[in-house]
Structure formats: structure tokens, C-alpha cells
């Protein structure tokens, strides 16, 4: 046999490539670490009870995120009320009831495609449908409905995957003892898929918390000095407040934005941790 004389060189190339991949991955992680650090370090001195408990203001020392936090809370609660039941039920229908065929497949593909549409397009739809056509004005309700449209595909896709992961032997076993389809779904399939569904729902909600563009589209005010009292009130939200502060030229407002980012990232990180926790318990 002819022995390859290039082996040393080939091994060097292999090692070099491995180190290259490691280095690039490390670089990516470092970049992102810098980002989080940079985005948060400016704001730490501003982070105190006064910041949480004050309304936005023209004077940076007096400004806070009270109305933004309240707005986000309202928005998320309403969004959850609309999007979660609709999304989960749609997923149950598509996975458990819908007759397999061209129509169901088309719906599934369309949902996947909808998940990739930019959020700002949803914002425009919300503006045209909810704000103008249904004349909900710039209310929390209009915001929550728009947000629901946006995260529905995400919830449906995640729930469908969780449902599909339930082994069909479980369904067959339940059918075999004479259960109806709804009994099977309610008593066996849904509980088994629950951790997956919850994880998907939480991730979708955290997406909704961070979204800015669609809220700007429907005209969530950037200066709101009151806490919304009902679904028809005007509102602002945390990411919008951050956007507003960032787009001002003064350095102090950038620091305020940074403090807002800390709060936002803190909330999101907590939600993520909960999701990971549920998923790990679910797989056990």
C-alpha cells in the first residue's frame, strides 16, 4: 500500500480547525458577555426604589419606570389571557383532532411561516385592525391583542411539539379502555405534554415582554405619567421607555436606559430560569 506522507500536516490542520472553532465560539460568548455587561453597568448607580417608583420625567434624577412597569404588567396579563387559551387549544385541535390532509398541512405550514414575519408587520396590522377599525384607540387592550397575534404562532408551534412528543402508545392504551377523544386528551395527553407547553408559553411571554416595535406602531405613548387603571387606558411599556431614553442625546438618559435594561433583563432571565427548571423536571 502507498502510505500517505501528508499525515503530520493533516493532523495539524485538524487541530488548528478544532482550536479555530473553539476560539470563535469563545469570541461569540465574550461578545455577548460584553454586551450584557456594557448594557447594564452604566445603569447600576441609578437603580434604586426611587427609579422603580417614579414616573418618567424630563429630569433624569427624578425619572423612573413606574408607569412602564405597570404598563408591561397590564399588557402581559391581558396578552396571556388571550394568547394562551387560544394558542394551546389551536395546538390541541391541530395535533389531536384535525383530520390529516392537505388543509391541515397547509395550516401548519402557514403557522410556521407566520412565526417568521417581522414583529413590526404585526404592529401595522394591529394599528389598522384594533386601533383604527375597532376603534380601541391606543389602549392596553389594543396592545395586548396585537401582542397576542404576534406570539400565537410561537405558542401553537411549541405546544404542538410538546403534544407530538407524547407517545402514541399512551393514546392507544387510553382509547383501548373505551375513553372518548376528549377524555384521552384531557386525562392523558395534556398532562404529559404540560411541561413542554408551559416552557413554550413562558418563552413566548418573555418574547412579548421584550417586544418594542409593534407597541410603537400602535402608538403606545412614550410619556405616560399615570398607572393604567383599565384595559382601555393609554399605556407605556418597559422596552418602549428604554427606547425612548436611548434615543435621547443626553448621557444621563442613556444611563437611565441602562438601568431599565437591567430590570428588563432581570425579569427575562427569571422567566428563562423558570422555563429551564420546568423542562428539566419534565424530562425526568
Amino acid at each position: 500500500m502507498s502510505k500517505p506522507r501528508n499525515l503530520v500536516w493533516r493532523h495539524r490542520k485538524a487541530k488548528a480547525f478544532e482550536y479555530f472553532c473553539i476560539a470563535v465560539t469563545a469570541l461569540a460568548v465574550v461578545l455577548l458577555a460584553i454586551l450584557v455587561y456594557q448594557a447594564s453597568v452604566l445603569g447600576i448607580p441609578w437603580l434604586d426604589m426611587q427609579f422603580i417608583d417614579s414616573f418618567p420625567s424630563r429630569f433624569p434624577e427624578k425619572a423612573g419606570i413606574k408607569s412602564a412597569l405597570a404598563g408591561t404588567l397590564w399588557l402581559i396579563s391581558l396578552t396571556a389571557m388571550f394568547a394562551i387559551p387560544v394558542g394551546v387549544l389551536a395546538a390541541v385541535y391541530l395535533e389531536e383532532y384535525a383530520p390529516p390532509g392537505r388543509l391541515t398541512q397547509t395550516i401548519n405550514i402557514n403557522i410556521a411561516n407566520l412565526a417568521g414575519i417581522p414583529s413590526i408587520v404585526y404592529g401595522i396590522l394591529g394599528l389598522a385592525i384594533f386601533v383604527r377599525f375597532f376603534a380601541l384607540e391606543r389602549s392596553v387592550l389594543a396592545g395586548a391583542l396585537t401582542m397576542s397575534l404576534l406570539i400565537l404562532p410561537v405558542i401553537i408551534i411549541a405546544s404542538k411539539e410538546a403534544l407530538r412528543a407524547v407517545p402514541s402508545s399512551l393514546r392507544q392504551a387510553a382509547f383501548a379502555v373505551g375513553a372518548t377523544r376528549w377524555q384521552v386528551v384531557r386525562a392523558h395527553v395534556l398532562p404529559a405534554a404540560l411541561p413542554g407547553i408551559l416552557t413554550g408559553v413562558i418563552l413566548a411571554m418573555s418574547r412579548a415582554i421584550g417586544e418594542t416595535a409593534p407597541l410603537i406602531m400602535i402608538g403606545a405613548l412614550t410619556y405616560v405619567a399615570f398607572v393604567p387603571e383599565g384595559p382601555m387606558d393609554e399605556f407605556t411599556a418597559l422596552p418602549i421607555q428604554i427606547f425612548n431614553w436611548t434615543s435621547r442625546p443626553q448621557e444621563e438618559f442613556h444611563e437611565l436606559a441602562s438601568a431599565g435594561i437591567i430590570v428588563l433583563l432581570g425579569v427575562l432571565l427569571m422567566l428563562n430560569a423558570v422555563a429551564v427548571f420546568i423542562r428539566n423536571r419534565g424530562t425526568r
Binding site: 500500500m1 502507498s2 502510505k3 500517505p4 501528508n6 499525515l7 493532523h11
Partner: protein
């Protein structure tokens, strides 16, 4: 026995973490012969086979003691390059695993990356002829290998190993995913290949071992129970566990 020993397995133990999968196996592999390794599922026969060309290196937590020598090359010497070992010891796997490329490029892949000299077209044709596949595919060498049938794919994988002109070919239950007709074709092939190559074949099919091999090793729970000429092992076993196994009383 006048046959030359080409692979010398000496007191080999293989562990997965804490589990001892192969225990103190000592076994000679004779040149230009077919050696079958048989035994019940989980007896460590595949593990032993994969240790011969260091494919176990890729399995996390797998460790090895004892020596395996290929001629004057110590396979488990840290200074030995596993790539060089695999150039001399080829392998065919349980399920056909052709690359998602054309038939031609499947065969040419190994020689290309190893920059083997010579005419590539001739090398590909030669390998396919030896694997008894040439007549079936010569008009469609640029078709995807994935369009072949299972039996053809497995012969393609054999041809792919042959194109490297190794000294030894390891076969890990090469027929377990195939129908009886394809299996018979591969068994016929093995007879012809033994003229030029040394073959070690793992099989759970005792009839297959009896049909194709000259030597048989019987493993149980990682221990070598019996090794000898195939005829002796099957007709006149020395160990009563071997007898029970080859007569089909367990396994």
C-alpha cells in the same frame, strides 16, 4: 497451524466507565482467513471488534488495557496514529452508511483525502468489481448512493473499504439489516475477498459463522470461552457453554 498471525490480541480488557465489557481476551487473527466472532447480544463482540481499529476512541468513557499488535505496529501505543491504523484496517458497519454523495465519490472519498497514488477511475472500478457491484452500477456511477437498495449499499460500503487496499477488514454484523438474498451475495463475496484480505466478522447468526469462516471465537459476557477452527468449534466444542450456544439452547 501454518497460518501467519496478522493481528495479535493480547490480554485485552475494555471498560465503559465502570462496566467491564471485554475481559482478558487473547486471540490471534490469521492472515487471509476469515475469523468469526460469535456470542449472545451484549457479550462485547462488537466492542472487541471496534477496538481493533480504535473506533472506540470516539465513545465517551471507553478505556482499554492490554495490547493489540498489527505486525510490528502496536495499535494502542500512544505514539501510534489512529489514522494510520485505519488505513491498514478497514471497516464495514452494521447498517449500510454510504455518504450522501454519488457512487463514484463514495468509493473515491478515502483515497482522495489520503492522497493515494494511481488512477482513480481504475481504483474505483477495481473496488466495485471486487465487491461484485460493478455490473449493477457501472452505467450510473454519478447517481446518488442513497438510491441503491440496502444490499447494494452494503456492498458499496465494502467496496469503499476495499478501495483503500487495507490488510484487514472488520465487519460488524454486515448482514443484520439485509434480506436473505442480499446476505447470500455478501457471503459469496467474502469467500473471494479472503484471497487478498484478512477478514474479521462479528455475527449473531451462527449459520453464517459456520458457512463463511475458517476460525471462530465464542464470547460470553466479555470473556473468550472458546477459539479454534470453525469446524471444531461447531462440531466438537471443548466447552459445554459453547456447545449449548451453537446448538441453539440459549442466546
Amino acid at each position: 497451524m501454518e497460518n501467519r498471525v496478522i493481528l495479535d490480541i493480547d490480554d485485552v480488557c475494555i471498560r465503559y466507565g465502570e462496566d467491564l465489557a471485554v475481559r482478558n481476551v487473547t486471540l490471534p487473527i490469521y492472515e487471509n482467513q476469515i475469523t468469526a466472532i460469535i456470542g449472545p447480544s451484549g457479550c462485547g463482540k462488537s466492542t472487541l471488534l471496534r477496538s481493533l481499529n480504535r473506533m472506540n476512541d470516539f465513545i465517551h468513557g471507553c478505556s482499554h488495557t492490554g495490547g493489540i499488535a498489527l505486525g510490528d505496529m502496536d495499535i494502542y501505543d500512544p505514539a501510534t496514529d489512529p489514522v494510520e491504523i485505519r488505513l491498514r484496517i478497514g471497516m464495514v458497519f452494521q447498517r449500510p452508511n454510504p455518504f450522501p454523495k454519488s457512487i463514484y465519490r463514495n468509493i473515491a472519498w478515502g483515497p482522495t483525502i489520503n492522497e493515494l497514488k494511481g488512477d482513480m477511475d481504475a481504483r474505483v472500478e477495481n473496488a466495485l468489481r471486487r465487491a461484485a457491484l460493478w455490473d449493477e452500477v457501472k452505467d450510473r456511477l454519478s447517481d446518488s448512493a442513497l438510491n441503491l437498495s440496502g444490499g447494494q449499499q452494503q456492498r458499496l460500503c465494502i467496496a469503499r473499504a476495499l478501495a483503500m487496499e487495507p490488510e484487514v477488514i472488520l465487519m460488524d454484523e454486515p448482514c443484520s439489516a439485509l434480506d436473505p438474498v442480499s446476505t447470500a451475495r455478501i457471503e459469496d463475496l467474502l469467500f473471494e475477498l479472503k484471497e487478498n484480505f484478512t477478514i474479521v466478522i462479528v455475527t449473531h447468526n451462527m449459520q453464517q459463522a459456520a458457512r463463511v469462516s475458517q476460525y471462530t471465537a465464542f464470547l460470553e459476557t466479555g470473556k473468550l470461552i472458546e477459539f479454534g477452527e470453525t469446524e471444531d468449534v461447531f462440531t466438537n466444542p471443548k466447552n459445554e457453554r459453547t456447545e449449548e450456544y451453537v446448538t441453539g439452547r440459549f442466546g
